[in-house]
Symmetry: C3
Subunit: 174 residues, 3 copies
């Protein structure tokens, strides 16, 4: 069974002062798009390198997630430290994810260049930072997800398939 | 009062053998675009990690600049070390700035991929590397400046506003 | 005489279980495009940080290559470690190469964001990671090569000229 970690990073959401919108937006998007069986592992943690790092380690190493999607903490503010936490746990960077997410987001908002999102691989888990706002999450997921199923194949994670009418995931022949 | 550091990095300009064109081009552009009060802190230093690093520390930590724009030293030549010096003083990278500046510069010149410009944050200062040539400076500033005022807000730096007919700076509502 | 290292990185090709297609594709492309004298230094090594690192050091420091083009080992699979090996030998990164190669490759295949290709400079040698597949190699070389001759000039490597009908290499005047 494919496990997908959905990690909301937000001081206010983690204290219950603010409704978490990013995590549910990701789960709803995945539910629409992925046609094979999967289960969500949801977490909410405050901003910070340690809090995010511990949650990522838990999702990758203990829960055995195939894919982890984070939301929040990727901007330039002092408390935005999700990319630093992610960088500290991945063995390999995948710079193309951040480049493409910023490029497509720039088409709607010039402040997209302030996003410091990264992606990378820890063992058999692919980790992708997403923005905090539901609208931006959808734009970013739509841009990068066609490459996600094949990436999971390559790193030995579980197999997922997508509704081709929504996301045309691509696996080279052979 | 918002302070903007303008740092020219050039062996020849620092020895007076060559007229500094980049620094004045930046100052002239900012004077046209920014409609709120600001003051320039101009510096000229030779190429090199130490010389640029010391000038950046002086502008950020002693002069209290809200924004520092460098010009020069971002190419592949052995003496081009401005990105390394910048990287050594920032706490956070903002990879979207370099990506966008290279992308827009590529529309006019294929050697834009040789530019190693970065941007990042040191405390309450945003630092952006710009190219050396006045024409390229204008292209790069025009591309990234719409995101600069909001970035300064987020890091606790001073507030600037721009002439919307020249640069439509963007601040999300709320 | 300009020397160009062509380094194939592949477990199977290095054991002779698989015909090396990437190395010959690079050599054929260069033969068509470069109009000045040059000589190829071909190597095939298995995947891995040490194997690729030693081959790069040999090509740069002993063979005196002006340019080294690698093929293979840039994906997300556990054995894909060419970017890590390259990063360990270069003194300067040139992030614009990887950005542009991923961007142009994305026009044909959405999995182009999985490519972790980098480029950088070691002394007087420019090193560029290329993909493994001949078709993708051609797309990437066509995109970045216009900037290569001027980059070699700037780092003190040998001078090359290209057939302008195939690749319009660019050298700024002066």
């Amino acid at each position: 069974m494919v496990r997908i970690g959905i990690l909301t990073v937000s001081d206010r959401a983690s204290r219950g002062e603010y409704e978490d919108l990013g995590g549910p937006a990701i789960e709803e998007w995945l539910t629409r798009v992925i046609t094979t069986d999967w289960v969500a592992e949801r977490r909410i943690v405050p901003d910070g390198v340690d809090s995010v790092r511990q949650a990522l380690l838990d999702l990758c190493d203990r829960a055995g997630a195939d894919l982890v999607l984070t939301t929040g903490g990727t901007g330039p503010s002092p408390r935005d430290l999700t990319p630093e936490a992610t960088s500290s746990v991945v063995g390999k960077d995948l710079p193309g994810f951040g480049e493409l997410m910023r490029r497509v987001s720039l088409e709607t908002v010039p402040t997209a260049i302030l996003s410091r999102q990264i992606a990378g691989i820890r063992g058999k888990t692919l980790i992708i930072n997403l923005p905090g706002k539901p609208g931006s999450i959808e734009v970013c997921l739509g841009a990068v997800f066609p490459a996600v199923p094949y990436c999971l194949d390559l790193i030995g994670a579980g197999r997922i398939e997508t509704d081709e009418a929504l996301v045309r995931s691509f696996r080279p022949r052979g």
